[in-house]
């Protein structure tokens, strides 16, 4: 196998898609830089959360509010969706049929929606148990961090729906390929952030 030139970290489309591969050098690098900025954003919100954990001010805390079973199910859904997106990227790189690519993407969307549904259910349960954000500094920090991730996933899902529309309209042109590559990075990034949330917020909170 001949040497493949990698332009940036992660999945490179390579020689089978020469034009996209060349443009991706700038576009995907730019997206990595954006993710770096987004990571700082999450890092700061995490630090807000960690320093507010004990500021419960008499309102319910993690042990009263979190339901680990449901959160674990959410985690599995999101991890599975990252896997299916990975399969979508591979099927794009190795030029499998468009139907297979779209199939993986739709599956990703369904898993993402499942995650969001369960998370919304959790949030509603929390509010019912007296865990609304206005009750304490801890709850404020929680409601900034976890829904911020949820909003990112929502944004990613909307992007994915638009992308499916673009694939339907234009097929797999350079623009859609670049978008799939960027959304893939975004989706995996959110997965990593979720692992941090699962560990720092839920596991540490219930420990």
């Amino acid at each position: 196998m001949s040497q493949e030139v990698f332009h940036y970290p992660g999945l490179n489309l390579g020689k089978a898609h020469p034009r996209t591969h060349a443009i991706a050098q700038t576009t995907i690098f730019g997206f990595w830089v954006f993710l770096m900025s987004d990571a700082i954003l999450f890092g700061l919100v995490f630090s807000s959360y960690v320093t507010s954990v004990h500021a419960t001010a008499g309102a319910p805390g993690p042990k009263q509010l979190f339901d680990i079973t449901s959160v674990f199910a959410e985690t599995l859904l999101l991890l599975a969706s990252s896997f299916t997106f990975g399969m979508a990227s591979l099927s794009m790189k190795y030029s499998h049929s468009k139907r297979r690519l779209v199939g993986w993407l739709v599956l990703t969307l369904v898993l993402g929606a499942g995650f969001l549904g369960l998370e919304t259910h959790d949030f509603l349960t929390m509010v019912a148990k007296g865990g609304a954000p206005e009750h304490s500094g801890f709850l404020s920090a929680f409601w900034d961090l976890v829904p911020l991730h949820g909003l990112h996933v929502t944004g990613g899902s909307i992007w994915l729906i638009c992308l499916l529309g673009q694939i339907k309209r234009y097929g797999l042109d350079t623009r859609t390929k670049l978008d799939i590559m960027r959304l893939a990075l975004f989706w995996h990034f959110l997965d990593i952030v979720w692992i941090a949330i699962f560990t720092v917020v839920y596991l540490a909170g219930l420990a």
């Binding site: 700038t26 900034d144 638009c162």
Partner: protein, 703 residues
Amino acid sequence: MSTASIVYDIIGRFTMHSLPFYDMVQNPTKENLINGSIAGFAACVAVGGLVIVVAGITYLKKWRWLWSEWLTSTDHKKIGIMYVVIAFVMMGRAIIEAILMRAQQAWGLDGGFLSPNHFGQLFSTHGTIMIFFMAMPFLIGVINYVMPLQIGARDVSFPVLNSISLMLTAAGAILIMASLVFGQFSTGGWFGYPPYTEAHFLPGVGPDYWIWALSLSGLGSTLTGINFAVTIFKERAPGMKLFYMPLFTWAALCTSIMMIFAMPPLTVATAQLALDRYLGFHYFTNELGGDMMHFVNLFWIFGHPEVYILIIPAFGIYSEVFSTYSGKALFGYASMVLAIMCIAILSFTVWVHHFFTMGQGPSINAVYGIASMLIGIPTGVKIYDWMWTMFRGRVRITAPMIYAIGFIVLFVLGGMSGIVLANPSVDFQVHNTDFLVAHFHNVIIPGVLFGLIAGYHFWFPKVFGYRLDERWGIFAACCWTLGFMLAFFPLYALGIMGLPRRTVAYAQPAYVPLEMAAFGGALLIGVALLSLLIQLVVSYLHRDENRVPVGDPWDGRSLEWACAAPPPEYNFPVIPMVSDRDAFTAAKAFGTAYLPPAEYVDITLPKNAAMGPVIGALGFAIAFGLVWHIWWLVCLATLGAFATMIVRGFARDTTKTIPAAEVEAEYEQWLEVVRAATPVTRADETRPVNQGLADQTALGAAS
């Protein structure tokens, strides 16, 4: 449903009291009359300015031209110019506010003429505007124009994103201008510390204006930082290694990286304050586990790097100015690069020095105090490098050089007072006094502002094709320097005498003479700004005798001087090859400048895009709706913004091609101009004979 609630649904919390002159009419006490007249006059100026601009454009039938040539343009050069225009307009407002504040303090012994609330709004808008809507747009504008030319690129990496950034910044600026007319601005200072800025203490629209103006501008700056950094890493001309880049480009890279890292803390701080104010969260409140120290930390994790985001591009401009007007390569290039990188990294390690007195204890303060003093070392390296650059050069005292030399002297003074303040035990004595005000103006005005104005002089001929009037330029530079010294040196003394900053009135007669002197200085700065305006008008009227079509009026050293003035839309007909530092100086020395390329090719450029202005307008609508609680507007504009982005995703035909023949014709025509031009020596560079072609025979230019 009552009428009141229907009205609320439509116009939110807007009432007649939101108009600046209403209280004056309702309750005409002396205080209300004075403050109402000033605020009403300011509102009239804002509205009048808008009406004049709109009427003028309509009368001249220029709307279509404005839309297609400017607002939707994705050309980095036009975007850069628009940024600088925003900066100058906002600078005008903020300097008038400064003069008003100095007048209030000059007569502040018997209470002065402004109400404390009005004074509070003045210092809050002055600071917010000067940082976010003067210095930031100015430096982003200059980088936008110059950096792609210096690296031999056709445009930035993401031209449409560039336009979006510009329009978000513009939306923030318009929001701040709207606060002159509708409602009142925050009285919480440019950093808006809670809990004072929480809904409990300031329930009005003021802090909301501040939050959303900063959010818009902060988002724009984050995107700009990403765009510039990617451009510098990915779009450099072939052969331009990182260590061949001009120092201004290095400065742009440093600033961009800092923007990427330092803007998110601001976004988090303002977003969390907004959650507190709108949804009753408890991040920074006094009760239920809120902690305002979170805000203070977040704000200064942004705020300290921010001042270096401002100064580093100015350092880059000074580097270009010193080496060009000394006719020498920059002294200590590598040390300069290392120094700005050190400053950039250190700037993230010192934020606690903004609140030494807020209870971290001596050990933490000591660490941050020492880190703050360390910044003096790389800065000192740069000062020496600039002086060595002038040493044994043929220094020409032009307007940019007056700013640059003034900068060296005054910035060292300001830096020294910073080292003094970096010592926590001294800081405890003078914190929150005018000493601090004197210090940061002493670094920001001679540092940032002088640099930006020097850059404006330096690159103006490149941008518009004619030189600025030199006499008015020198007069303005002298007014700036003297005015600055008169306005801010007395503040050091006042601070040591114990005058707290942001004081509306005082009871100590000994302050009066110094306050009067500072007021005189503020007036002189006003004269300086006016001279810049006159200079612009005079230069425009005499533009035909000062044209420099060849494009190299100062015997420049980097690639931006290699193309015509003003440059064509595509910058370079053929992307240049770079094999040295000071690429254009080398080309002139080896006789490879002004040669036709072997072959012309078609050039692909991005088409105009309505995306930028549409997102900007919707961003403004969302922010304005949020400020006034006009929820239908917020919902509609948010939906509109989503729709715009989705529609844009489906756009495919986004580039245009300029045929090789057209490029060739334009370039040949310019080469004719070059051949017809007479080379001038440096002695004649400020005379009309200067057509922008530098004489290379007089001295070894490649020194």
